[in-house]
Amino acid sequence: MTVLSGKELPRDGVKLSGEALHYRLDKTWSRQPGLWGWLSTVDHKEIGRRYIITAMIFLALGGLLALAMRMQLARPESGLIDPDRYNQIFTMHGTTMMFLFAVPVMEAVAVYLIPLMLGTRNIAFPRLNAFSYWIYLAGGILLWVAFVLDIGPDAGWFAYVPLSGPEYSPGKRTDVWAQMVTFTEIAALAVAVELVATIFKQRAPGMTLARMPLYVWAILITAFMVIFSMPAVTLASSFLLADRLVGTQFFNPFERGDALLWQHLFWFFGHPEVYIIFLPATGFVSQLTETFCRRPVFAYSAVVIALVSNGILAFGLWVHHMFATGLPRLGYSFYTAASMAVSIPTAIQIFCWITTMWLGRPRFDTPFLYVIGFVVTFVIGGLTGVMIASVPLDLQLHDTYFIVAHFHYVLIGGAVFPLLGALTYWFPKITGRMMSEVIGKVNFWMIFLGFQIAFFPMHISGIMGMPRRVYTYPAGLGWETTNLISTVGAFVVALAVLLFVLNAVTSLFRGRIAGPNPWDAAGLEWATSSPPPAYNFAHIPLVSSRTPLWDERGHLPVVTGLRVDDRELLLTSVLDARPDVREPSPLPTIWPLLAALATTAMFVSSMFTPWAVVIGSLPVAAALIFWFWPKEPGLPPEPVIE
């Protein structure tokens, strides 16, 4: 067997550095220009950006639906929207926000940031990453095209059977919903796998687990939660589709099925899902607090333990969504206790952030304002969560606007505020330009106050007995005022979101040039230029603390020796990040897109005939085989058998 020596291949190092290195790496790592290159790219930054923008578009779409609902609910007995449309609208709003905005946007930001924070050149399994984006996009388009064609789902974002079953939801509406779930779950699971592999194996040398930025920890835990929880909803929606399309009886109580099986499966996913949205947001908060308070977050290990226990406990609470179904009381007490217990990790994190502010010197740039807005708002939502974890209280408040208030406080206060802060914070990294501070501050106050105006009154509507998911309500029950105020607030929030978009777009062209590290932050993502080059880092950084850029003023220690004529990454050992393997990283290819198209064709046609699964799997398999079949002919210029 021929053994080629690898010594003569071009590598980065003392001899190859600076401009010359940039030229070589850029040639290796950048993609073809033009449409083809755009469609076949596997660069995590490009895909992450696309993912973020798509998710933000879904936020705007979901938000516009929210405005429609608020218009309808502004007055009692309003005839603006008929019940059929309204039911589609609130289902689309919840579904879009949860499946197409909140979870994807959190994963999208991670896809962009994690490789940069870890000091690596690309995400693990970058083609899977491209596939994930296309599948997600297809799922979103499917849902919205269906909605425009008046076949939007109308059974609520958790689609309880039997209402969503074959008998009470004839037509294609629920099939669209269930298939959209399949699409987004595949996409989310794929990203979770990439993130786990990237975080475990691609950290810069020296970045032991205990030196990972807290955001990376949050994403690691989140990825595991995705892995353990999303199969539940995939299984549930498959059962539902089977009931609807091939006549199985899983949920049919008259053929030994059980309607509650759906609720258990759905919430076994649904509860972890809310932490899948929330934990990455806590990661943002940790990073922002560190940078703007000018010191590492207090009690790193306590925060990590909090994240881990949050992730574990989240799997023991799902029944708190089902208190009114009449399961045995004793069982309920367990879920109350577990729901209470999950507050402790959150309480720890909140304490650690505020202590960091206390010990540090907070700087009130826009991103940090969002952190403060987050604490002020989220804690209210968390505390109402504790209220409804109590069975006697929840039996009254369940399915009222009090719940709607709770979850918007935690979702918007707990996830969207940190997200907006994070986008403002990393915007210079992504685009090379700063967002306007002045507009940013106005923007913050608008969304913060608008939010309280819109959602605080919902607590009161709920206590006054207003159920959720009603397309109208009678006058005279005292709900008119609070609803009108909510509507006004919703429009303020909408203006604020619009302002954010405007600020981002104008800053893209006119913003101040940022430079690599405009906030003087500590993480590796700030060690490379803004926006980063296709290969992320000219040399792989070497890490010896949790805050590398603060501890290594002036110089960045690096390791060298990766090939520059081929895409190569560094794999390090799982616990202590010792350099271990030089791993080739895949080239751009069109096959992920084609595989996604084949998968889409299979799923969409399976709504019409079950045979589509059989026939449609052939092109999918073909596309996957082409995708994985090695392209480089002959021997690689590396030793083949060591």
Binding site: A124, F228, P557
Partner: protein, 205 residues
């Protein structure tokens, strides 16, 4: 202002492939095990959930599935671990000839298993449309079949690949080793399903 690099180690001598947890794909495959493992676990939970509020299992007047096809399937599946282990060992030691042969054997066993699986469906004594009991029995078999088919197709592709010029690359041996690991997952998950589909309906009055 960009930070200036300070050069430390040179890693040019690191290997470009490694087996087991040192390989990236291994972690990917592991993550997929976890995903699929949770799907199986939840399907099992659904089975017990549905069983829980029945007076009998199978609910009368249905009779339990016939044992022959499923038991044969189990035996073949378990025996297949012998060539599978040999294949994995061969891959990890770079023995190309043995790997080629081993893959072909696994593919052939797969065909046999597929035939048995068809008979299994026929011996369930219930249709998926009859009731939820029938639905979950079919679901377990179909879910397992899906994994089994995935691995079988993967084995076919690898068998073809190892017979081409790509077969000599070390990465491909890692792939074969990981494929063998997946096969273990497929038969490991089968064991509880075998008990649930064929034996629990006999043991539970």
């Amino acid at each position: 202002m960009m930070l200036q690099p300070r050069f430390t180690d040179d890693l040019a001598t690191l290997p470009t492939t490694a087996f087991s947890h040192r390989s990236l794909t291994w972690w990917g495959v592991l993550a997929f095990f976890l995903i699929e493992g949770s799907a199986f676990a939840l399907a099992f939970a659904s089975y017990f959930f549905l069983m829980n509020h029945e007076q009998g299992w199978p609910p009368p007047p249905w009779s339990p599935p016939d044992l022959l096809a499923g038991t044969l399937f189990t035996i073949v599946m378990l025996l297949s671990e012998i060539p599978n282990s040999m294949l994995k060992h061969a891959a990890e030691h770079g023995q190309l000839k043995k790997v080629r042969a081993g893959l072909l054997i696994i593919v052939a066993i797969g065909v046999l298993l597929m035939v048995l699986r068809i008979f299994e469906f026929a011996s369930l004594n219930v249709l998926w449309t009859d009731n939820a009991y029938g639905s979950i029995m079919w679901a377990l078999l179909v879910l397992h079949l899906a994994h089994f088919l995935t691995d079988w197709v993967d084995s076919c592709v690898l068998a073809a690949l190892m017979h081409t010029e790509h077969g000599i690359e070390k990465r491909r041996f890692v792939d074969v080793s990981e494929n063998a690991m997946y096969w273990r997952f497929v038969w490991l998950t089968w064991l509880p399903i075998y008990v649930m589909v064929y034996w629990l309906p006999r043991w539970i009055p």
